[in-house]
């Protein structure tokens, strides 16, 4: 690891000021950034520790919640208001990493974590357009089991590894961002970018900005929801496919449905097309299958990850059936 300066930010304003210096990075729990520094993938000149800033879960006026960016993942997962009103979020967080990592990792850091692509992580020996723009991608012809089948590009097929963000995408969460010119809010589904020809630019966050909070809108009424993560071992592994789904039925028809996927795309993948296709109709196998099929019509499959299309379809279908059963 290269030598690095370290300071704790006393306030959000100060954090924004200090964090806008070139070469400086904000530090949450360090569960990803410090790993990457050890591997030589990241080499910031300075770290601004933001974990002393507001790390609370507060009720908002609109019936929703505001989660401070430095709040630890384990705190969010265990919070009574999260568990009762947004159980899908709680489950998603608990499906990720290990208890020790969740105790350190922050909500803001979870959004900012980098892909776990083997070639991205191998700064010494592999080419990666995300790490060194224009250098090439060794994943596309190599080990790509954990890579994207949807939303990728010829330059990059890396996946965003978060579980939490998949639930946040399904829940219409917003990201509150502070910068030199004040505070702005973006939808979580718009926060992460698709790679295109610039996979190195992963979010809409400017270097001089920082995430201060996640806003959750008021929970949907009568929504049965769940989070299912499919992986290569029973715990402590990234998702091959994960699904955050919510469903409420009325008079035998879908009143509302939320679907987001993890593990298959460069960003938490909100499946808007599936939702639109199913809303207002009865949940019958053929239409459900057709709706899901349509979402993956443009999937770009690689030898190592081609199975994910089938896996994603099956996992979502089973979840919708289960949620519909809960509703009955």
């Amino acid at each position: 690891m290269s030598p690095v300066t370290y300071v704790r930010a006393p306030s959000a304003t100060e954090a924004v000021r200090m964090g806008s210096e070139p070469g400086v990075r904000l530090l949450g729990g360090g569960t990803n950034l410090v790993d990457l520094m050890r591997k030589g993938v990241e080499a910031p000149s300075g770290l601004i520790d933001v974990t002393a800033l507001a790390d609370r879960v507060e009720q908002a006026d609109d019936g929703g919640l505001v989660i401070g960016a430095p709040t630890r993942n384990s705190v969010v997962a265990a919070h009574p208001l999260i568990r009762t009103r947004y159980p899908m979020l709680s489950r998603a967080i608990l499906a990720g990493a290990s208890a020790q990592v969740r105790n350190m990792a922050t909500v803001g850091g979870n959004l900012m974590q980098r892909t776990r692509c083997l070639y991205f992580n191998d700064a010494a020996g592999s080419r990666c357009n995300k790490r060194v723009p224009g250098s090439g991608c060794d994943a596309i012809g190599g080990s790509n089991r954990y890579h994207a089948i949807i939303g990728g590009s010829a330059a990059c097929v890396a996946t965003h590894p978060s579980d939490m963000c998949v639930a946040l995408a399904a829940l219409d969460a917003r990201v509150r961002i502070a910068g030199p010119n004040g505070v702005r809010t973006v939808q979580l589904v718009d926060f992460h970018r698709l790679p295109g020809d610039r996979p190195d630019i992963e979010t809409v966050l400017d270097h001089a900005e920082m995430i201060v909070a996640i806003e959750l809108p008021a929970p949907l009424k009568a929504l049965h929801s769940g989070y299912r993560k499919v992986r290569d071992r029973a715990s402590y592994a990234f998702a091959l496919v994960s699904v955050a789904a919510g469903l409420s039925m009325q008079d035998g028809r879908v009143r509302d449905v939320r679907v987001a996927f993890g593990g298959i795309a460069p960003k938490p993948w909100r499946a808007i097309r599936i939702e639109e296709a199913l809303r207002g109709i009865p949940l019958v196998p053929e239409t459900t299958a057709a709706a899901i099929e349509a979402e993956f019509a443009e999937a770009a499959l690689l030898p190592g990850n081609a199975f994910k299309r089938e896996l994603a379809k099956r996992t979502l279908t089973a979840m919708l059936n289960e949620l519909a059963g809960d509703d009955a």
Binding site: N121, A124, S126, V230, R233, S235, L240, L311, R314, A318
Partner: protein, 772 residues
């Protein structure tokens, strides 16, 4: 190994065959088999309290003045030349003492490869270490940065710029098969065995299977990283290492650096997991050579990635197993052939056909292993090398045959268990695989298994049961020495250079010595992990316990003689010959008239001695050649496979072992379970992702290389026949590795029973079960 070796081993076997059993080690059963107190008890590990309290001092924790640290730089290409190395920035970095490359590394010869002839030849790789500009595999050490602290060394290492002139490399298994070599022997066995005409039998038999099984490469992941500290004191060398070969390392280092044996001391009191990976590799050579050059003690600790880069693992394999049977289920042919990787500069032949040579009778055999050359870090021994993956292929094939015949797979196995060694015709010293299956099946509830696959389900989960045979040969190594010091206060110290890798070596040998010397276990101290002590062989091949036990038994005989001499004419035991006494209740007693006895205390007091010390060597392990000595096991598995996702969740595992006397049920159960968990990893997730384009290992971290997490490990039941082997010390055979064997096949067979899908390439990941 060579044709000469085949001839030598073959003639030893022939000669030993003519020698009456009574003249050989194991000729008469060890009397301790019948008479024991501490052996067989649930003694807790003597090193347990130290480890729980964090007081066990591991190799990386040795405190030393003026200690400096190293960080290694690894090649990122597979074949080529170091065209340019810019080390200036590293040399100028804070705390850096020196950057070592092939230009300034002292000249050191290659390590002699591990072999059967010379016990000090323990190298895993014979490639030069920082001696020239050639790159021979991806990950090879190309530079070492020496600095005051580890952080400074790590940082400076990242500043080194290397340009390579790339050369073509062999990295593709499938392509290299065309140039595979057929070695004359595999370990001490003749490689190619051809009995009858197996291929013809396959065609004519009413039932047969003939399939190819594939297993991936795997890497060592002991929790304790490889670490070594080398300190020169004048012309003497002290090495604090974590090693499975304390005395052999000292001999090898002495030879390599032109020292006398007594000038080298290797210390390794605790090893935080070995599994075959903790041998002599490049980092120890760098540490010793550079420490001498800079005149300061030097520590080299590999990073986790470093372990993947320069410590070999299990070879990938492609194995063909074909079996035919007559209408009654009697095997008429057993074919086991295949390919594994073994570069000419490596030492491990990945002996995956060993189980097929020993377990079953068949009318004909065709067995041969072929070696593929790739430009890789040489693979090495990894817990149950060969057997772990060989039993996957063999035992899957038997399950496939049983299914095809509509026969219970246990019944098919029991129908073909060999009474004598199927190839040599030698009688087994002890063999109770049938009992292991019977006991295991009963405890496991095998009768509840559905014979038709894919017929049992709960919700989305399909449930299945499978079983397999596990197998591991008995090995006792030559060259085991111990000293025994018996003191006038009634205590004794046993010492040898043996290795404690966490399996309870010191505990079990203290139990053994207590019974052997007729003392309570509290009176015994067992010293190990120091090459200054009498030399013990390496810990490998599940042989350490019996190897040292043999030496202690020999030592007890010598001690008896010495005590009788010291006792003199005034003793109640005067005039008795060693064969007429036994060591019991803190003294010597006549075997026929126990009232005739004298305590050690009394003998030593009369002789005016504070203590008596003897050293002794274990006998040559000729019993291995006289008898077929082989452990086996019956492994059972019950699991669920999701119909939705293909995820496999193992619910129950049971291992029923036939390994001779179980010396300590507590440590043995732990060994068996640990092995079975490794087998579970082999079955379901462990896989080195080797990029065949670059020759580079891509998942060199514990995050990306999956081993079972706690949630993957089910209840594991272990049991054993406990029948003593009349030919081995204590009646025991090794137990460290057999736990791994058979598990992958039991899992694969259970997956088939659950789903009707046969997976022949490991690991059994969910994508292989998704397809219709």
């Amino acid at each position: 190994m060579s044709k000469i070796q085949n001839a030598v081993i073959g003639s030893v076997r022939t000669v030993i065959g003519w020698v009456p059993a009574g003249w050989l080690p194991g000729g008469a059963p060890d009397p301790l088999i019948e008479r024991r107190a501490a052996i067989g008890s649930q003694a807790s590990r003597l090193d347990g309290p130290l480890k729980v309290a964090g007081q066990a001092r591991f190799a990386a924790e040795v405190v030393m003045e003026r200690l400096c640290h190293a960080a290694l730089v690894h090649s990122t290409v597979t074949r080529g030349r170091l065209a340019r190395m810019d080390t200036q920035a590293a040399e100028a970095a804070p705390g850096v003492i020196m950057v070592v490359t092939y230009r300034n590394m002292p000249r050191v010869g290659p390590l002699p490869l591990m072999g059967m002839a010379d016990l000090s030849a323990v190298g895993n790789s014979s490639l030069p270490i920082l001696q020239d500009a050639q790159v021979r595999y991806n990950g090879q050490v190309v530079a070492a940065v020496i600095a005051e602290t580890q952080d400074q060394a790590d940082h400076a290492a990242s500043l080194i710029q290397v340009d390579y002139e790339r050369e073509p490399a062999r990295t593709v298994f499938e392509e290299a098969k065309a140039h595979a070599r057929t070695p004359a022997s595999v370990l001490i066995e003749k490689n190619h065995v051809s009995v009858g005409n197996a291929e013809r039998e396959l065609i004519s038999a009413p039932h047969s299977v003939d399939n190819v099984y594939r297993t991936p490469g795997q890497n060592h992941n002991a929790i304790e990283l490889h670490t070594v500290t080398a300190a020169w004191e004048g012309e003497s060398l002290v090495v604090h290492d974590t090693t499975q070969m304390v005395a052999p390392s000292a001999s090898a280092l002495a030879k390599l650096f032109g020292l006398k044996k007594e000038q080298v001391r290797v210390l390794s009191p605790f090893v935080g997991g070995g599994f075959g990976g903790k041998g002599l590799w490049d980092h120890q050579i760098v540490a010793v050579a550079v420490a001498r050059m800079i005149g300061r003690p030097l520590r080299v600790t590999l990073s986790r990635e470093g372990v993947y880069r320069i410590i070999g693992g299990r070879s990938p394999s492609e194995q063909r197993v074909a079996i035919s049977a007559d209408a009654a289920g009697k095997f008429s042919a057993l074919v086991h052939t295949g390919y594994s990787v073994m570069p000419p500069y490596g030492a491990c032949p990945e002996q995956y056909t060993m189980g097929s040579r020993a377990l079953y009778d068949a009318g004909s055999f065709e067995i041969v292993q072929r070696h593929v050359d790739l430009d890789i870090v040489p693979n090495t021994f990894m817990r149950a090398p060969g057997e772990a993956i060989g039993t996957f292929a063999l035992e899957s094939a038997i399950d496939e045959l049983a299914h095809g015949m509509g026969m219970d797979p246990i019944e098919l196995r029991l129908h073909n268990i060999a009474e004598r060694h199927p190839l040599s015709g030698t009688p087994f010293s002890q063999h109770a695989l049938k009992q292991a299956f019977d006991d295991g099946a009963r405890r496991f509830g095998w009768e509840r298994r559905r014979t038709t696959p894919a017929t049992r389900r709960e919700g989305e989960w399909r449930i299945g049961m499978g079983c397999a045979t596990g197998s591991f040969p008995y090995v006792r190594m030559p060259g085991a020495n111990v000293s025994i010091t018996l003191r006038s206060d009634g205590t004794a110290t046993i010492a040898c250079s043996a290795q404690e890798m966490g399996m309870g070596t010191a505990t079990v040998q203290a139990q053994h010595a207590a019974d052997r010397l007729g003392l309570p276990i509290e009176a015994i101290t067992f010293e190990l992990g120091d090459s200054a002590l009498p030399a013990a062989p390496m810990a490998g091949g599940s042989s350490q316990t019996v190897s040292i036990a043999g030496a202690i038994a020999a030592g007890a005989e010598k001690l008896t003689l010495e005590l009788l001499r010291l006792a003199g004419n005034a003793s109640p035991v005067a005039g008795l010959r060693p064969s007429e006494v036994r060591l019991t209740a803190g003294g010597i007693a006549s075997t026929s008239d126990p009232a005739r006895n004298e305590s050690y205390r009394s003998i030593l007091a009369r002789a005016a001695r504070d203590a008596v010390t003897i050293t002794a060597a274990g006998s040559a392990p000729l019993e291995m050649f006289k008898f077929a000595m082989h452990s086996s096991s019956a492994v059972f598995c019950e699991l669920r496979v999701s119909d939705v996702t293909g995820e496999v969740r193992v619910d129950r595992l049971l291992g029923s072992f036939d390994c001779g006397t179980i010396l300590n049920p507590k440590t043995a159960a732990s060994q068996f379970r640990g092995g079975m968990i490794m087998g579970l990893g082999l079955a379901l997730m462990e896989e080195t992702l080797f990029d065949e384009r670059s020759g580079r290992i891509m998942n060199a971290t514990l995050a990306d290389y999956h081993i079972p997490a706690h949630l993957d490990v089910p209840q594991i039941d272990v049991m054993w026949t406990g029948i003593p082997d009349p030919r081995s010390p204590l009646g025991a055979r090794g137990i460290g590795e057999i736990g791994v064997t058979g598990v992958a096949a039991a899992v694969a067979n259970a997956v088939f029973n659950a789903t009707g899908k046969r997976v022949r390439d490991l690991p059994i990941t969910l994508d292989k079960l998704l397809t219709e």
